[in-house]
Symmetry: C2
C-alpha cells in the first residue's frame, strides 16, 4: 500500500498542507477530508461578498475539489466528517455525510487542520432562521441569500471584534440600519484605548450605533421562527436579522480521541515542525496555538496567513521534509469604512502581562506631505520596553497608507529593533507617498523622549 | 565673545543643523548664511507646484528667515554668499549680495551645508531666458511664472532621471506637449532594465515622447533671446521651453580654500559624526558623500531625508554633542503619472560591481486581493547575494501600495535579512490592503528558487 497522508479540514491550512505534502513526496497518496461542501476558500473575504465589493461568489473559492485534485494531485472528500482518531491503529473514522455511512481510513501521517468554530452566545433561539455567523462559506452564502431575498431593514450585530467591524460595513452597504451590541464600552478589545475610541468614532460617523451591554437574550415572536427582538441589559432592540460575531475558538473535538495536547487557550500545541505530542500527527492553522515571537508566549491568533504557512510546514514534514514555522508577531488589519486599522506585535496590556516595563507614545502624522492632494492623517501608537528599548507593538490607523506602514513596523518588531533603531531607519520621502519625516520616524522620535 | 557656530547653506541640511546646534547648546550664537533669497524649503516639492498639485507657493517654505529666528533662535543671513574659508584664523569671508559688500565672520565651529548644483549641458544658450532648471525655489518659481505668463505649447525636457520624470508629469498637467531627450535608450538609469521599460511605457501612455540622443545643441533664433530649436543626434526639435534635469553634483567650491577632502564622487568626505578632515568643520546634506550600508561604499545619493538627518547630527556635534549618522540604504521613490516607482538598496549592477554574486527575480503580485475593487498590480524586482543569501536591493513599481511596500523591504535590507528570512516575515493579510501572499513574500519565495 502507498504511504497515506490524511488531512482533516479543507479551508486554509488543510489544502496548503495537502498540496505541499504531495509536492514534496509525489509517491504518497494524500487525501483531504472536509465536512462542508466547499474547500480552499477565503473566509476573510466573505464580508466583502456580503457588502457587494466582490460580486461573484465563485471568486471566494481558490480551488474546487476537482481543481485541487487535478492541479495538486490531492484526493478530496467533501461532506466527510472525521469523527475519531484511533492512533494506535493509525486510523481515522469518517462519516460520509452524504450517504450517512461510517468508514475507516488508515494513515502513515495525519495532519489536523480542523480550523476554528464560532463562539456561541449560549442562549435560546441562537440558531433561529434569521441568526447568522460568518465562519464558513456556507454561512456567508446563506446570509447573503437572506439579505437579497428578505431585504431586512434592521440588523443587530452581536460582538465588536474585527469580524463584527467588517460586518458593520458590509451591512450598512446593504442599506440596513445597523446596531452593534458589544460587551465592552468600546469595540475591538485588544487594541489600545485611543485606537478603540477612533474606531467607535468611525462607526458613529457611519451611522452604526454601538450599545454596550452584558446580557443578551433573543426572543422569537413571529410566525416564521425569526428572532424579532433582543433583550439586553441596556434595553430591548427590535430587528429583522442577527449576525453573531463573537469571535472563534479552536476546533479540537477530535483531539481527545488521540490524546493530543491542548494549550491554555484550548488550541493544539505543536513544536516548530507543527508536530503534535502524538507521533505521526501534525496540526496547522486555526485549530492550533502559535508562538508569539515578541513575548515568546503561546497565544491563540487565528489568521489566514499563519494557517497557510503552518500548512506548508506541516505538509512538508508529514511528507518527510524538515521545515519549521517559528511563530508570528501578530500582524492584522481591518478596514472599518474609511478607517484603516492595523495592529502589529503585542498590545501594551499584553506587554505588561509579559513583564515588560511598558512605555508608549501616540503621534499623528501625515501619509503624504501635508499639502499634497489626498493626504490623510496616520496615527501611530508605539509600544516599547523601557529596559531594553525594544519596540514590542504598534497600532497604526487613519487614512490610506496606515496599514502598509504597519508592515514596515512589523518587520522592525520581528527583528527586535529598538526605538532608536527605528528612528534611524532609512525610509522613503516623496511628496505623493510620504512626508520628509514619515509617521514611523516621528513615532520613534517621540517615544524616545519618554525613556 | 559667545561661541559661534556658523552654517553655510539654508535649504535642507543647513536649517536642520543650525536649529539642532542651538537646541543642544543655547549659549552659542548660531548664524546661517544662504546665498539665495529663501531658506528651509522643499525642493522635492517644486514639481508638484509646477504641476498645480500644490497651489499655494508659500507651502513650499517650512521656515522664513524670520520664523527660523523666532522659533529656533538661529540668526539668518539670506543673500549672503560665503566665498572663502580661512581655517587657520577660523574665519569665513562672506559677500553680502544685497549691498555687494565683503565681511568676515569668526567661528568656533563651521557647518557646510552647501547642497548640490545642477549639472550643466555645456553648450551655448544654456542660460537663455526660456531654459530652466529646478534645483532651487527661485528656479521653480521662475519656471512657473514663465508657464503661466507665456503659455508654452511645447517643452523639451533634457535628462531622464527622477526629476525629469516628475517634470514630465508636471508639464503634461499644464497641457504642454512634452518631449524628453535622454542619453540612454531608457529613462531612469540606475533602475533595473524591466523597471526602466515600465517607466518608458508609462511615459508613452501619457503622451510623453522619449528621444534617446547623445549630442544636444540649443539654437537661439527668436528676437526675445529664447531657444526655439534643439539640434540633436537624432534630429531637430522645435520648442517654446527647455527644462534641464541632468542631475546634480555636490556643491563644494568652498572646500578648496580649507583643504577639505572630497571623495571620488566629488562630495565632501565625513566620518559618522559628519566631521570633515578639518578640525572644527562639519558637513551635511547634498554636498557630502554618504556611506551605503548595503555595500559599505561611499556613494553620492543626494536625498532630503539624508540631508535632514545629517544636519541634525552635524548640528549636535558642532554644539558639543556626540551623535552619529551611520549611512543610508538608498530609499527613493518617484510618482510617474499613474506609476509608483521605488528603489531600495543597491541595483544589480552596483551589486555586481561590489563583488556580490548577484541573483535576481521579478514577480508580479497584487496590491489587494485580486478581485477587490481598486486592486492594482505590484511588481517587485528583488536582488540578492547568492553566497550569503542577503537581500541587497529591490525595485518596486506599479499601482497604489508599491512605494510603501518598498519601505518594508527597505527595513529588511537595512537589517541584512536573507531571502529566506524575508519569506518568513509575518505580514498583514486583509482583502482591502494585501493579498494572502503579499507580493513581498512572493518575490522572496520565487527568488529562493534561484539559489
Amino acid at each position: 500500500m502507498k504511504q497515506q497522508i490524511l488531512v482533516v479540514g479543507g479551508v486554509a491550512a488543510g489544502p496548503s498542507a495537502a498540496s505541499k505534502a504531495k509536492r514534496v513526496n509525489p509517491n504518497t497518496e494524500v487525501v483531504l477530508f472536509e465536512q462542508g461542501e466547499y474547500i480552499s476558500y477565503g473566509i476573510c473575504e466573505v464580508p466583502y461578498y456580503i457588502g457587494n465589493d466582490v460580486k461573484d461568489r465563485e471568486k471566494l473559492i481558490s480551488y474546487t475539489p476537482q481543481r485541487l485534485e487535478q492541479a495538486k494531485g490531492v484526493k478530496v472528500k467533501t461532506l466527510h466528517r472525521v469523527e475519531e482518531i484511533r492512533n494506535v491503529q493509525k486510523k481515522i473514522v469518517v462519516r460520509d455525510l452524504y450517504r450517512d455511512k461510517m468508514q475507516e481510513y488508515e494513515y502513515h501521517r495525519l495532519i489536523l487542520a480542523t480550523g476554528s468554530k464560532s463562539r456561541r452566545l449560549g442562549v435560546k433561539n441562537e440558531d433561529a432562521r434569521n441568526v447568522f455567523r460568518v465562519n464558513s462559506l456556507d454561512e456567508g452564502y446563506a446570509l447573503k441569500k437572506y439579505i437579497d431575498e428578505e431585504r431586512p431593514k434592521q440588523v443587530l450585530i452581536i460582538g465588536g471584534g474585527y469580524i463584527g467591524m467588517e460586518m458593520c460595513e458590509a451591512l450598512v452597504k446593504n442599506g440596513i440600519e445597523t446596531t452593534l451590541l458589544h460587551r465592552g464600552q468600546l469595540p475591538m478589545s485588544g487594541l489600545e484605548l485611543e485606537t478603540q475610541q477612533a474606531v467607535l468614532q468611525e462607526l458613529t460617523k457611519q451611522s452604526v450605533t454601538l450599545r454596550p451591554n452584558d446580557d443578551i437574550r433573543l426572543r422569537t415572536v413571529n410566525e416564521k421562527g425569526s428572532v424579532v427582538t433582543a433583550v439586553t441589559s441596556v434595553g430591548e432592540f427590535s430587528t429583522d436579522l442577527v449576525v453573531l460575531s463573537l469571535g472563534v475558538e479552536p476546533h479540537t473535538e477530535l483531539c481527545a480521541s488521540a490524546k493530543i495536547h491542548l494549550g491554555q487557550h484550548g488550541g493544539i500545541v505543536t513544536d516548530q515542525r507543527q508536530a503534535t505530542n502524538v507521533d505521526t500527527i501534525f496540526a496547522a492553522g486555526d485549530c492550533c496555538e502559535v508562538k508569539n515571537l515578541v513575548n515568546n508566549k503561546r497565544m491563540y491568533i487565528p489568521l489566514a496567513t499563519t494557517a497557510s504557512k503552518q500548512g506548508w510546514v506541516a505538509g512538508e514534514n508529514a511528507a518527510g521534509g524538515r521545515a519549521v514555522f517559528k511563530g508570528v508577531i501578530r500582524a492584522m488589519a481591518v478596514k472599518i469604512f474609511d478607517l484603516e486599522v492595523a495592529q502589529v506585535g503585542i498590545s501594551s496590556e499584553e506587554a505588561r502581562d509579559s513583564g515588560f516595563n511598558v512605555v508608549t507614545e501616540r503621534i499623528v502624522g501625515d501619509s503624504r506631505i501635508s499639502f499634497y492632494p489626498g493626504n490623510t492623517k496616520v496615527v501611530i501608537h508605539l509600544i516599547a520596553d523601557k529596559k531594553s528599548g525594544r519596540v514590542l507593538g504598534a497600532n497604526v490607523y487613519g487614512g490610506g497608507g496606515s496599514v502598509l506602514r504597519a508592515n514596515t513596523l512589523g518587520v522592525a518588531i520581528q527583528q527586535k529593533l529598538t526605538v532608536d533603531e527605528v528612528f534611524r531607519l532609512d525610509l522613503i520621502y516623496s511628496p505623493p507617498f510620504a512626508p520628509l519625516w514619515d509617521p514611523i520616524l516621528i513615532s520613534a522620535n517621540q517615544l524616545a523622549k519618554r525613556f
